[in-house]
Symmetry: C2
Subunit: 536 residues, 2 copies
């Protein structure tokens, strides 16, 4: 192997591909793979294990505000490092948005609307986060070490349905048929342009030949590069008569949809959705409900958490932090003093609390944009989506306010009642549904969801609950959605430790709306805190 | 609503789409969905429940040859209908290719090569069928009614690897990166052809506008319709620096691969593979091994099955069927007489047995083409594919003889040894590996599989087993692969009841290589038998 300087001489400005080729030649596959990672090919996370916080001063104390995942992770790691930790939580449970609604649970909205969930024992809906990407290694680390069992979340279900009001006369279509037809038409068109020489100035002769092969195979085109019905194509989009056995009739080909129909479905939106890095398979969910993650933390540090505690004021000076609070249950007021504070209170609530901090931090807290999604859980008497439609988990999408149905990813094939996600509304749909009474929301969800399962939807319905996040008093929003402008102006101010107080949570991250972000934010916050505390 | 005759007058030759639109207008969504199904949109199976075999004559008897899934299903349904059933099975277990290899199991090949599996308790490999599509309703029916618990089979894993010897210097790439780059380049090229007017004669102005939107969104192109690096694109293919929290650095964009590199990977092959109707999500596997399906049948009808029984001759005349057999364990010979016979013995074996049947049937038995796939299971000390590569289930593909690795779909995140599918060889690769000794096969599998996991593959290896199907003495092949010509000449002869004997099994079906085919074949066969028996 030549010396490094030789290598440097040989390749003035190598492409990444050239560099990889050289490393492969010289160092073999193992060296190559390490290099691939180093060159950014496989970078998946900024998590390399929980921070090592050594040398904490004996007796140093931290008050953590909020027992969502960020607060729980901060408390766990700080207490392991030797800090004396107290967590104050507004609600009567830990977890925050890490939350599962079960039979008997009450949901009280800003304005007073109250629901009591009536689901059967064992059934639940996850109104907040509900799926875990395989590359969210921080979250997976805590699930593993806290004993939270995970099961697959069926994200991409080819047999789900797509509905758009102005496509196919408003009738839902199977995703598989639309997606196969989309790639077929795209292949046929690109094949024609290539064969007509329309792209000769853009692709080499060699790439053109390969592209033609790719289009024919990927699009399942016929020998004339046309997208036409065939048994081979039906082997992707499904048959009119599927294959049988014995003297059953032979399979017959289905007829693909025309280009105009396929385009009217906007199916590429879903095809792209499934390619989103945070939506890619393999995904997971905790067995028994998302709140099992919070429960895992609480098994470790439950004794440090004071529930039902509303923070009224956060003061700090050279000697420490003082938090004034009121007990929601008893009305008792109190103060908690500590050397340092990790504050995970969501910005819409934090902006209404007296906080002694720099103007820059206070401005940042007020500037964080929050979305107010809404979810609805509908309990049905039986799994008609499985039994009658062969849909096992995954989603059906619509352009109505409910946005999508999602089918439960556990207890497949079981008898008895099961809970559908009957709405996951964003934007205008969320505003519209949030503005209704709980009963009205259920009615709209049943009406709109019936487009997918008309014969069964109302007949099998038992009860439903809705969670409009912008009306949840303890958060008044769901996910932060930084714009480029707001991030440029405020983000660094928001996440930089301010005196004795450091903020953490989903909003204090580049990973808005994901539990992974909350945890990464918490780990970074406690690293800042520890550095400050040990330097002091 | 107008009378039917009015409707008929209005639409002389409606397209399916026009017809659906009319039905939707007149009858609402429920009528539409029923019509969609009737028009072939949602046809998924020829299974509508097990056959109703009423009126069997008291005392009528059937001998079933072979206790694979076809034989077991035939025996179960015939015995439920009142027939007296005896099953003869060559092996010392029921199930046939419905088979799981576990620690302690012996594998003896034609030629004498013998392996003993050394996997840890609880670990197994499914050397035959291993995944169940959501639309295989016959199989799902029996799993449900026989109490066989199913769990998801992770088919499409975006984080799996793709290796081709002549692409990327032989270094594996993540599927997600290649697939995202493929659709990006295709979108850019088709967008350019459209903008250049090269397809104006082929697509309408309206479709052209929609296609341009589709290409920009689906391909994640920039505002100039070019496929360039961006944070948005990295939101699909992954980042160089992924999003973090707090003061972690901001995410940075990854650089897509060039067109020539992407084409060298043939990634469209895998993209198309995942769209195969029989490979589409959601898929399942039985908890604890594929052989749990056979075990479910045996709980019902185990008492009817005689194991270790080699069939020597199948004779029939006007009065009945006589089967001569030898007990493999004791050498004892015997005869079983019955009124009727369902024969599921695989064609390569059946063609070597004396069978009294028409020349047409005998010619058909000799004509069935069989493939001889080969699988290898490798037990590893730990789940390095999960821990080090974030690969949870699914596949990595290669153009080497082993063809693919597949990662276990159960017990995710657990510590301790786990079993990889280290080869699933077809065609030339299967011939090559089958021709080796068991030890040589493992060596090749370790060598070729190391391309994906170079640092870990040999270091973590404990033991392996191979199952070369063409050398399994009881079947001498794996899956039937009818050609159009052989099917036209022989298929009907093979599956039509011949006197008192009717054949069934995966080969007697349009669904070669799938358990669903075996079952559909068995149900059709017993319907023929029952019709003959009750008419006699």
């Amino acid at each position: 192997m030549p010396a490094a300087s030789d290598l440097t001489d040989q390749i003035a400005v190598p492409t990444r591909r050239q560099l990889l080729g050289m490393i492969g030649t010289m160092g073999g596959a193992a060296a190559m793979y390490q290099a691939m990672t180093a060159l950014g090919h496989a970078a998946e996370t900024q998590f390399t294990g929980p921070p090592v916080l050594s040398g904490a001063r004996p007796g140093a104390s931290v008050v953590v505000l909020g027992a969502g995942l960020a607060g729980l992770a901060a408390a766990l790691e700080l207490s392991r490092a030797g800090y004396s930790v107290q967590v104050l939580e507004y609600q009567d449970r830990a977890g925050g948005r890490n939350y599962s609604v079960r039979g008997g649970d009450r949901i009280v909205e800003v304005g007073g609307a109250t629901q009591t969930c009536e689901f059967a024992p064992g059934n639940y809906i996850n109104p907040g986060p509900w799926r875990i990407p395989h590359h969210h290694r921080t979250l997976l680390h805590y699930c593993k070490t806290l004993g939270v069992e995970l099961e697959p979340f069926i994200q991409n279900n080819h047999n789900g349905l797509i509905h758009r009001s102005n496509a196919f006369g408003g009738q839902p279509q199977r995703y598989k048929e639309l997606a196969v037809d989309f790639k077929g038409h795209v292949s046929e068109l690109l094949g024609k342009a290539l064969n007509d020489g329309a792209l000769d100035g853009k692709v080499s002769a060699e790439d053109k030949e390969k592209l033609l092969v790719a289009m024919r195979e990927w699009g399942v085109l016929d020998r004339n590069m046309a997208f036409t019905p065939s048994i081979a194509l039906s082997g992707q989009r499904g048959y009119d008569i599927p294959p049988g056995g014995g003297l059953d009739p032979a399979p017959t080909a289905s007829t693909p949809n025309g280009l105009a129909d396929v385009l009217s479905s906007n199916v590429w939106t879903q095809m792209g959705f499934y390619f989103n890095y945070v939506m890619q398979t393999t995904m997971f969910q905790p067995k028994g409900g998302m709140d099992q993650i919070a429960a895992g933390f609480m098994r470790q540090i439950g004794a440090m958490v004071r529930l039902n505690t509303r923070v009224a004021k956060i003061a700090q000076d050279a000697s420490g932090v003082t938090v004034d609070w009121t007990d929601n249950a008893t009305g008792q007021t109190g103060q908690t003093k500590a050397d340092w504070c990790v504050c995970t209170i969501p910005p819409p609530v934090l902006s209404q609390i007296e906080l002694q901090a720099s103007d820059a931090l206070l401005a940042a807290v007020r500037a964080v944009p929050m979305n107010g999604q809404l979810k609805i859980g509908l309990e049905m008497r039986r799994r008609f989506w499985e039994e009658d439609y062969a849909i096992y988990g995954g989603h059906s999408f619509t352009d109505q306010a409910i946005s999508q149905l999602s089918y439960p990813n556990d207890k497949f094939f079981q008898d008895g009642p099961a809970v559908l996600l009957g709405a996951f509304a964003n934007g205008a749909g969320a505003l519209q549904l949030t503005g209704m009474t709980p009963a009205e929301r259920i009615e709209v969800a049943l009406d709109q969801g019936s487009v997918f399962h008309p014969a069964e939807y109302r007949r099998e319905f038992i009860s439903g609950v809705s969670v409009p996040w912008s009306r949840m008093p303890w958060i008044q929003g769901c996910t932060s959605r930084w714009t480029d402008a707001s991030r440029a102006q405020h983000y660094t101010n928001l996440v930089t430790m301010d005196g004795r107080v450091v903020l953490a949570g989903e909003h204090a991250t580049y990973y808005g709306g994901w539990m992974e972000g909350s945890l990464l934010s918490a780990l970074n916050a406690i690293e800042q805190l520890h550095q400050r505390a040990t330097a002091a």
